[in-house]
Amino acid sequence: MSAVLESTGVLPSEALHQQPVAELSHVTKRYANGILALDGLSLNLHRGEIVALLGPNGAGKSTAVKLMMGLSTPTSGAVRIFASDPRHTATRLRTGVMLQVGRAPEMLRVREHVNIFRGYYPNPMPYTDLVKAAGLKGIEDRMFGQLSGGQKQRTLFALALAGDPDLIFLDEPTVGLDIEARRGMWAQIRSLAARGKTVLLTTHYLEEADALAHRIVVINKRRVVCEGTPAEVKSLGAGTSGVASSRTLKIIRCVTELPVGTILAIPGVTTTEAHADCVVINSTQAERALREMLALDPTLHSLEVASPALEDAFLALTAE
């Protein structure tokens, strides 16, 4: 990284700017009971980006997040947050955390919870801003125990933002939220990133990762199996390894009399599968393939063109 910066003549201040906000390098974590949770995992988070960490249960996501929060130490490798130890108070003052909490103390009011957390930071986010950002208006005086699932999530979101942190960990932030509240939280997360904050998101809603993340990191079996923009990850999972660099993969479905061999000969077509009722074609130049196929086969019908779904990519990437 530094060699690249020097050769392009970037000023030191800019180089500093580009230093990752969070850095896991070659991290291995083996618990005392012998379970290997991470195996040589490397991951960088940069300023102003939203990164979604995906992976099946037990892949090592929560271990990676715990290491970054300083709740755990790596067996080997290094974890640096703001180029320092995640366990230092100075580091924690710049990070905010939203974890899946079963019960926060139930007999405290939302307002009290928020103010307790604001008190941890020397320059907390103003109370009214927090209430607005997390959508807590009207429930501030309720006891935590009286809140609905979605209201609890929003309160926990407010706790993560209480210190106006530069790095925010969000573990399944929108579980239990209705569609409107989920969209609201997405908008807040986007505006955080727009203000230069870094957000690390773990989620089971692939739609959420797709809609929010600048970058998706897929973890499987204790290591990173794939990372890139949502579009890149999707085309990676859908195509063969040859289209790894393609960002324009489309899936074409239609009923056609053309033989498979003819379709495969069209430039950009990577795979063709003939099913009983239709043909499924993966192409990196969908428009060209369509033009040629329509010209060759006037009977072609039931045409559908779709982008690969993140869900398919995810399943393909994390398959056994």
């Binding site: 618990y31 715990k66 924690r92 974890l99 909490v101 079963g102 926060a104 405290l108 941890y120 006891m143």
Partner: protein, 268 residues
């Protein structure tokens, strides 16, 4: 470099002030939370009050054994019984619930100093202890003409504040070792026997001889003996031996809690 050297003392005092402020907030809200949790506040205050009322005041109304007023003698026992309950249930059960819910993890990931959290729990338990001891004292004075001098009362409060510590450590050990679902049950299974065997309900010399010997191992016994001393009722052992007994118990519990915490941290 010189700037850093100049800045250091200021940052240190800033850190101290910040930690103190956080601790005070935590302690205040922990107390408020416990007070609002009726299941806790009613039973932790109610049980010693009702027990003292029945067994200390009504059943032994005006009774005196030698120069010892039974109602006053029993006050020491039930005062200890009350504050031990506040410490074990406030810290043991409270902490195990917060660990199970993942709340402690969130707190640990925050910039809150961990000591502020534990100390706040300890102080709230002590505050409940003060409330309980004061209530019992008022009951004794009004219902059984127990005479308590101001210095005796101050001594009781001092012992309450110090006496919470060993039981807070015991509560911590329970919270770290026992799963949340069984924490209240396990706590009761410890709390009630050590209260009885420590002589909090029935004066220690009325227990069978072998149990009297066993009581030396119990922190409840040592704390009650110290409490009796503030009333001038000296029965067994020296003050130093009782303080050492409490200190030893505290260290053992701290050791257990530390090992349990390390173990859980390594496996999670």
């Amino acid at each position: 470099m010189p700037i850093a050297a100049f800045a250091l003392p200021a940052t240190q005092s800033n850190t101290l002030a910040r930690n103190l402020r956080i601790f005070l907030t935590e302690a205040r809200y922990e107390f408020v939370r416990l007070l609002r949790t009726r299941a806790f506040s009613l039973s932790v205050i109610g049980f010693p009050v009702v027990f003292y009322l029945f067994f200390g005041l009504i059943m032994n109304r005006g009774e005196q054994i030698g120069s010892v007023l039974v109602a006053k003698y029993m006050l020491a026992g039930y005062a200890v019984f009350g504050m031990v309950g506040a410490a074990l249930f406030g810290i043991g059960v409270g902490l195990s619930s917060e660990i199970a819910a993942g709340w402690m993890e969130l707190k640990r990931a925050s910039p809150m100093p961990p000591a502020a959290y534990l100390l706040a729990k300890c102080c709230s338990a002590a505050a409940f202890g003060v409330v309980i001891v004061s209530l019992l004292t008022v009951l004794g004075i009004t219902m059984s003409h127990v005479s308590i001098t101001l210095s005796e009362y101050a001594g009781m409060l001092g012992l309450t504040l110090a006496g919470v510590i060993p039981f807070a450590c015991m509560g911590m050990a329970i919270a770290l070792l026992v799963p949340y679902n069984s924490a209240p049950g396990v706590t009761n299974m410890i709390y009630l026997p050590i209260s009885f065997l420590g002589g909090l309900w029935i004066p220690i010399m009325m227990l069978p001889h072998f149990l009297q010997k066993f009581a030396v191992l119990l922190p409840t016994y040592h704390l009650e003996q110290l409490m009796l001393r503030t009333f001038g009722y000296v029965s067994t052992g020296t003050a130093i031996s009782h303080w050492l007994g409490l200190l030893g118990f505290t260290l053992i519990m701290l050791g257990i809690a530390t090992i349990a915490f390390r173990r859980s941290e390594q496996n999670s």
